[in-house]
Point group: C2
Chain length 514, copies 2
Amino acid sequence: MNGAQSLMQTLSNAGVKICFTNPGTTEIHLLEALEHAGDMRAVLCLFEGVCAGAADGYARMTGKPAATLLHLGPGLANAAANLHNARRARSPVVNLVGDHPVYHQKNDPPLASDIATLASPVSGWVRQAQNPAGLPSDGAAAVSASMGPPGAPATLIIPADCAWGESKPFAGTMNTPKPGAVSSRAVDAAAEMLTSDGPTALILGGKALLEPALTAAGRIAQKTGAVLLSQTFDARFARGAGRPFVRRLPYFPEDAKKRLASFKKVILAGTNPPTPFFAYPDTSLQLLPTGCEITALCGFSDDASAGLAALAEALGAENADFATALPKRPEKPHGPLNPETAGAAIGALLPENAIVSDESGTSGAHAYRFTAGAPAHDWLCLTGGSIGQGVPVATGAALACPDQKVLCLQGDGGAMYTLQALWTQARENLDITTVIFSNRKYQILKVELHRLGLVDAGPRVTDAMDLSRPDLDWVHLANGMGVEASRVDNAEDFYNDLARALAQPGPYLIEAVI
Amino acid sequence: MNGAQSLMQTLSNAGVKICFTNPGTTEIHLLEALEHAGDMRAVLCLFEGVCAGAADGYARMTGKPAATLLHLGPGLANAAANLHNARRARSPVVNLVGDHPVYHQKNDPPLASDIATLASPVSGWVRQAQNPAGLPSDGAAAVSASMGPPGAPATLIIPADCAWGESKPFAGTMNTPKPGAVSSRAVDAAAEMLTSDGPTALILGGKALLEPALTAAGRIAQKTGAVLLSQTFDARFARGAGRPFVRRLPYFPEDAKKRLASFKKVILAGTNPPTPFFAYPDTSLQLLPTGCEITALCGFSDDASAGLAALAEALGAENADFATALPKRPEKPHGPLNPETAGAAIGALLPENAIVSDESGTSGAHAYRFTAGAPAHDWLCLTGGSIGQGVPVATGAALACPDQKVLCLQGDGGAMYTLQALWTQARENLDITTVIFSNRKYQILKVELHRLGLVDAGPRVTDAMDLSRPDLDWVHLANGMGVEASRVDNAEDFYNDLARALAQPGPYLIEAVI
């Protein structure tokens, strides 16, 4: 057995069951080895940014690492923006990057570059394989590293001669990392804060936003009057009717400051203290009110479920009732299509157990609000601010959860970054409804320009924020990749098309002109 | 004047006349400054890979740096694959990358990452601005660094507070780098080699492939019997009827070895010794025959024109006649459409002074051969092997040379990487005819698989090389971005559509189903 076969077999045995591929010549032996790698599924993506985003979406829904297969430095570079998002989501992803044999790198052939350096800012772990015999343990180490804690992309660089050289099956022991234990001191400090006077916020992040941690948080809130908050964006929110209601912080710092102004005490569970997305001239970055006390129950690497359960127990709330979001759906909307009526239609129609991949930018806030009382569902955010994540993450989520409907809410600007994902959706016949919010501009930039007081910007500025001239035609673009699509420009048509798309299996795209 | 305005003014004064933008919030002041930056043109691209490729294409045709405006680490990451190609083309490109202020980076907001590390493998020069007052000299240094010699992407990272803070106009002196002088010893060594016995190859690269160096090389060849060769891929070939004929090395090492087998001596002008694109098991990487003597007349950083002129003079050939490619066009092709008939149509129709952006992969070899006697034209290659360069480079070349027709020959696999460039072509009404060679597979991988003897590959392997299921519809994709298009599947229709597209101004795409 060659190194590639030994590696792929190791990955499969370690629980890696899917590989998003865009291979080249240096990866041919790795690709060939996939054929023999048990039940590992190979999914072709026509751009590496799709591979990385899909691996992230898969990992968010399964908690298990997905692999990518990438072609040297440029393949890794194309994946890097969505690996940045995956790193921010703390998703386990195993990148397999082919390279020239070391003896050829010294000839500096055209595709040679410093892959390890390129990979390091978007990876929690980087290793270059040294020989074929070591490749299976390199693979086992990569899987282990990807799982953290916390999860992160792990990048294994594989010179082609390691892939084609002679190797053996992995003979070591897989190290399956576990999240860190939450100290009783941290639990006591949080309990003390919650039982003393003054309004307290419990800010949840990462796994604390998922069951069973979420229910424990709900009990704590009910028992103590603490308010459950989250960051604006996180990897995955379990939400909807029947689940504890978590309020997320507004995006702009002035709004977040208002939301946080009344809290004297903050407990962090699985997240950092809130900070603005961007800095602005003459604007303080401090979101929490002056004198606000902070304590961390658990960090990114810790077991948030155990920590919140222990805290609930310390408060005598381990079996307490807790408030949940009540079932509530907006009315079917009428009239013009805009973010609010689109959001109402989504709130009215979102099916139970749906997975929402949200990169809707300025168009999606209403959809989030209107789905608070929709049947229980998962909501996946743009974690690292690098646009072009929504459609790939939807793709990976659908592969992870074939029995759940995926709804992708995607701004047109970001959609253009990784539109190639639609082809993979068609090829794999994935059950995804994509809504493109087609406002034909980088609306967020127009908002920011206004906030910065640059209101009389000239044509070079406004042109650079304007996606019209010509208008993108998303029906044509989707059809060009084999995905059925329609365009709507009023609330009734949007509601009707969305209802039909959600009811039928397979990929469908709606261009919502707002 | 703020730092952004001072920077953009400096760049414009230093000769940077175009900026390919995809800005975000951290770049708003830089964008606003473009409004006041004299005659610098701002061109919006809907993905940063398009910015980088277009900047490369512009630089290849003008020899002058183009700027890109990129959004933090992810924006740079998205540009990195085509920056890799630009680095291999030795193109001057100035990347302007916005970042958080340093005082916000410590809060680790979602978009924060290590931009300098990401940039270093694809840049010849990286600097992070320290304060607004230093920004204009940082910009001048970036322009200078981008021009080398040899040219390379230069990346300037601009924390937002440097852009919005108070600055002054640039008061320093622009350093305009010049290529290095070729030593008389190198000229003498080459002259001695050319006047001694035995077949000699003169391998040209970089600026040695352009006038006036090319004519000097033609004279040297004529006088001495040396054979003019080039690497398989280079940034720009000046070629066609009336110009010295340069034979390029075949792609596969076994073919290149055959081509080189008869040479006892090799002179390098502006390039490295030839090396294979990829290594293969049990295959020597040595392309030149054993015992072949090598001498370098000039390297990447040297003045190839002066070096070849000096060599011609040393040989007494400075005014000699020289052989040129004779005008010759293939007949109008008939019958099925395949790489050969498509190539014949291109050879029959290529207009004088055309610029060909070639990323045709396995489909384009015939087109290169059939245009050897076409009217004089420029041929731009995929320099770094990172697919997705062809359409963006065509875009930048068309902006650089509005009076020349651009023909983009592009494989479908690579076209999917940066198809967003078509939208910029439509918006700017660029005079580009794009031919998509639609073979619906990664044909090169099928060839490589066969060469490696992996002939009985299973479905996971063959699926990963297959772009059908569903077929991409390039007419829909082009129309979706505002570019007129047609699909053809026989030689006559291809000839007729190509003739019409080349005769009419503006962007047009032909899907050539082969």
